[in-house]
Amino acid sequence: MAVASISVSETPLVLYTLRLADDALILGHRLSEWCGHAPILEEDMALANMGLDLLGQARELYSYAAKVEAKGNDEDKLAYLRDVRQYRNLLLLEQPNGDFAQTMARQFFYSAFADLYWRAMMKSGDATLAAVAAKSEKESAYHLRHSSEWMVRLGDGTAESHARAQAAIDHLWAFTGEMFCTDAGERGLVDAGISVDPASLRSQWLRTVADVVGEATLDLPSSGWMQQGGRDGRHSEHLGHLLSELQSMQRTFPGAVW
């Protein structure tokens, strides 16, 4: 039996929930890649903590997407049996870990957004999403604090750490714009009070980011060009490799229960 990817009936709510779930899973997976290899043991603990928070979010969101879709999919089918074009996470989150500065800058840019986003989503008219938001907001507040502290330590640490932190910011900046984009389907959900318009959070995000980056004695790039495509399944080449590892057992042993 070939292991075909599943098909998903992507109503706006299903698609929207999958985007959030994919964000959490892909970033959680990236963080889990550090396990056993971090610069200090305390950071092994912290990276795993953040990864576990995100995996927990992903599981709740996939389960909810499966329930809304009501076509017999479940969290594992959605995670393990969709291919790269069906994944809808932000490009930022699939970027490789790189060095520790790159991992922290990725975490910082995303957590500064996620914290605002989940806080706003606590008022969602969808009770399940509001509940996920309430839990995720607490988690992302910690992720933001942790990654902000590292941005400052690295930026204002040694010449080498400063250079690495600046390089990480410069490299990842072009992936931050996608966080604030919506499509027609999602705008319908915003109008219905189910989701929030991320564009409305942009100025506050920029303030938070600029404050921390300033304290870290680093600079934000002036370039305005932003990459997009993740939300529509047009990814970087990195995601396919991540998925081939993530999905290898489910693809090798079709239908097995673990």
Binding site: A38, N49, F100, E245, M249
Partner: protein, 330 residues
């Protein structure tokens, strides 16, 4: 007081004084009192414990690698989260244990440096590779299971900080053990392919797990003084036997075969196992196990790649301190 005295008569006095203290120390041990960091203790006690606790800490940290090898490939989201949490627990164990070792006057940095230089040991079991998902089940079931057998008596170890760390660690290890067994149970009730995977993992790990209890009693170097100091309460062979007796029925329940055709149950109920290949054990200890080089290389790489991060954190902390001092002076 532990440094060598140059003045002979002083040294003689010290010797008499220390003999008195040593007797009082042993009396406390015999009375099952806990020794705490600020208490007087013989230099050899301190050295033995520092070695044992730090080896234990290194084992927890190196032990993250074989299981960490499967986090990114875990077959379901539930298993992935559970495995990441488990490996994180092992890191936590390493941290408590380094902290316990530090109460004896060694620093974590120097202990880690010894390990990275190949001068300190860690458990030989982590020099075997994890080839399939079933290895994650077997490690939880047997490796954590053997660790529990070794560590439960350590919860009553005479040295307070070590005993307390072990109480905390044992609780988590028994959770890991149940989780590993549950993975095995799922495989044993799965497809033929999954059953074969489970059996293959047991075949590969069984003998190395028995070696985790250390050399046979006749050959063990440290047991005598460790027993006198109540660091060790059971011999290697006693613990190994307990483990085998507990494990055989578990394997039977799974429908798996322990790869020891000569194994038999004696009239007293104990399971008698065949001779262990101690040459293999010696080879692994000497650095020739299948993964020794990879494990050390991975730990060294993490350490070296992380150097600039640790330097940055330190430089920042110092800058901050200076700024605070400067502010206070204004």
């Amino acid at each position: 007081m532990y440094t060598q005295a140059l003045n002979t008569s002083d040294a003689d006095d010290r010797h008499i004084e220390d003999a008195g203290r040593a007797a009082a120390f042993q009396a406390r041990i015999d009375a099952e009192e806990r020794i705490e960091p600020n208490d007087w203790m013989p230099a050899a006690y301190r050295k033995t414990l520092t070695r044992q606790i730090s080896q234990h800490a290194h084992s927890e940290i190196v032990g993250m690698l074989p299981e960490g090898n499967w986090i990114t490939r875990a077959p379901s989201l539930r298993r992935k989260a559970a495995l990441l949490a488990k490996v994180q627990d092992e890191c936590g164990h390493g941290l408590y244990l380094y902290a316990a070792a530090e109460t004896l006057g060694a620093s974590r940095e120097e202990l880690v440096d010894l390990m990275l230089a190949g001068k300190a040991k860690y458990s030989s079991i982590f020099n075997y590779p994890t080839l399939t998902w079933a290895d994650i089940g077997v490690i939880g079931w047997l490796v954590d299971g053997a660790a529990i057998m070794n560590q439960i008596p350590l919860c009553r170890c005479s040295y307070g900080p070590y005993a307390r760390a072990m109480i905390r660690v044992c609780k988590e290890e028994s959770f890991h053990q149940r989780q590993g067994y549950e993975i095995m149970l799922t495989l044993a009730r799965g497809s033929e392919e999954q059953k074969a995977m489970a059996q293959d993992a047991l075949d590969r790990w069984w003998w190395p797990v028995l070696m985790m209890f250390g050399p046979p009693d006749q050959a063990s170097q440290h047991s005598d003084t460790s027993t006198m100091w109540k660091i060790k309460r059971f011999s290697n062979d006693e613990l190994r036997q307990k483990f085998v007796d507990a494990t055989v029925p578990q394997a039977q329940y799974l429908g798996l075969t322990i790869p020891d055709p000569g194994m038999k149950q004696n009239a007293d109920g104990h399971w008698e196992y065949s001779a262990i290949d101690w040459d293999e054990f010696k080879q692994v200890l000497a650095g020739n196990g299948p993964c020794n080089r990879d494990r050390l290389a991975a730990r060294r790489k993490a350490h070296d790649d992380g150097a600039w991060v640790r330097e940055a954190a330190q430089a920042y902390a110092e800058k901050r301190k200076h700024r605070q001092v400067a502010q206070a002076a204004e």
